[in-house]
Every structure is written in C-alpha cells, then in structure tokens.
Subunit: 155 residues, 2 copies
DNA sequence: GCACTTATTATGAGTACTTCACAATAAGGT
DNA sequence: ACCTTATTGTGAAGTACTCATAATAAGTGC
C-alpha cells in the first residue's frame, strides 16, 4: 500500500528511522482517529502482535512532537490521537457517551488568536488555540427523552 | 470575614452542608486560582491542618459538579481549579513554564458556539466551548533570547 | 552483502494523579 | 440534646503514563 511510502518519507524527512512499529502505530491512528494509546495498541497489534504498550507510548509522544500526529486530552479521558494535522480543526466531545467529532471553526478563521488581555497581565505570544466543545450527541439526546431516564442524577 | 457567608449560602442553596473543609477549600481556591489539588490542599491546611488530600479531591469534584468551581486540564498537568465561574473566560498556558493566565474571548462573544459540522457527522448540541491557548509568556521569551539557550532541543 | 554505529524497542519497575470502599465524624433538622 | 445521614478520614487500589536499562534492528560505510 502506498500509504506506507508516505509515512516512510515523512519519517525520513524528520530524521527518524522507518520501523514496523512506527508504521503500525501510524496506520492504527489513521484508521482509528480519536483513539487512546490503548486502542491504538490493540489496533496495531492486529498487524504486529509483538508490539508493546510502552513502545506505543514512546512512538506516540515522539510523532506528536514531530507534528505527524496530534494529541488532545478531553476531560476525564486518556489522551486521544489523530493523523489530521496542519489544519485548524477542533473537537466536540459528547459529555454523555464520550464520542468525539471533528469540527471546523465557525468563524472561518483561527479562533480567538489575538485574545484580549487584562491590564495587569503580561500577554503571551499565542501559538495554538485549541477549542474543545462539550455537548450532547444526537444519540444521547434521544436516550434522555425516555421517561424513566429523564431525571439527571444529582446525588 | 463576609466571604465565608457567601460560600455558606451558596452551599445551602445547593443543598449542601456547610463544613469547615468545604470553606477551607473554597478559600484556598479563591486565593490561589489555577491551582492543582495538591496546591489547594497545602493552602487549605494553613487554616485547617487536619484536612486530608482525599477530602480535597471529593470536595473539588463535588463543587465542580455544582458549578461553584471550574476545573480545566492543561496538557501534561494535573487538573487546575478556580472560583471564577459563570462567565465565558478561557485560559492561556505557557508551554515553557506552565504559568496560566485568564483571557476573555477576542471576538467579544462566546467563541465558535455554532460549529460547522461535516456533512457526514451528526451535530451535537453544544453546551460549552472551552478554548485553551498555548504560547510563550514574556519571561520565557526573554530567557530564550539568551545566546546559549537559543537552540531548541530536538533530540 | 557484511559489519558497525546508534536509534529504537522490549522488559520490568516505578510515579503521579485520582478514585474507591468503608468506618468515623459532625451538620442541621426535630 | 438527639438523631439521621451527609461528609470526612483511613487505607488501599487503579489508571495512564514514564523511566532505566538491556536487547534489537535501521541505515551507513566498506
């Protein structure tokens, strides 16, 4: 598959060696976007059963530093990875079931990249603005319509 | 101090009992915004030495659920807490030293609250849009100007 | 193609942060 | 003041991730 070639040359251009572990992790992330390290391990092991969890962590960290992967951390969730990098897309997480969707920014450009600073603060040079939407997906909304489950548990 | 009264009535209005542990945690968060649980424990123990770490975790979770506190989780950091709730402010984190600043949204209104969905996705009902800015604060920028530290370590 | 250098991975242990189960305590209504 | 039950303390456990070091293998030069 030509996919492998692309990953291989990308790795080369970053001065990294092309290993079957890296290729397996990249393919696993590609085919399972928004997956945690554990899920990536499981997916990659279908191709490479001897792959270890620790290697997955090392590879994911390194490729994230190289910007070949993108990492984001929803609340109360392990870090999730995806291959979609270089654009300015963001994420929506369902607070009920945890499903994740990609979203582009509504305003059509990088959101809020020039924040308004308080007078007493020292402005930072902003490099990234990550937006995390939290809401309820259609499936979970439908479930909450059910009479017996309308009540939200409030201790 | 009248601060205590306000917390007490807020707790009452949520059907919670007013305990010295809760008041100590609230005061600690108030006076140390953007602090992790450990920092809050240390601050609260100045007033209440017998307070335990586990109680701090329980209190923080509960008060966050009640929206009396707000929790956010910068990458590679434990969760941070603040008493500033109910407005739509966001956070800027220095990727070098970790310092956190509050920022209001540049566009003057809730950012990107109506995201643009892909055609093949099921839109969610968005409730929150958290924006996390990442950049370099003025102090760290100054440090990186130093000749011997100009080079970024790139393995 | 073969040896060599060194990046990369596997192994095994360890850490940080948070949560859980359950007993002890104390807040607030009667 | 008593009683009910929310809340806290105690001690242990769990998840996600990292570290140190030895084994392996990618890519270079011969």
């Amino acid at each position: 598959m030509a996919e492998q070639e692309a990953w291989a040359s990308a790795l080369h251009s970053h001065g990294r060696r092309v290993t079957k572990q890296r290729l397996a992790v990249l393919a696993a992330v590609q085919h399972n976007p928004h997956s945690p390290a554990e899920g990536i391990l499981a997916a990659a092991r279908k191709d490479l059963p001897e792959l270890t969890a620790q290697s997955v962590y090392v590879v994911l960290s390194d490729l994230t530093d190289l910007q070949m992967l993108r990492r984001f951390e929803p609340p109360h969730s392990p870090a999730l990875y995806e291959t979609r990098v270089g654009d300015n897309h963001h994420h929506a997480v369902c607070i009920s079931c945890g499903r994740v969707e990609d979203v582009d920014c509504a305003v059509g450009h990088a959101p809020c990249l020039t924040p308004h600073w308080d007078e007493d603060s020292k402005p930072m040079t902003i490099q990234i603005a990550d937006v995390l939407y939290q809401g309820i997906c259609q499936d979970c909304q439908a479930k909450q319509q059910l009479p017996t489950q309308t009540q939200v548990t409030t201790k």
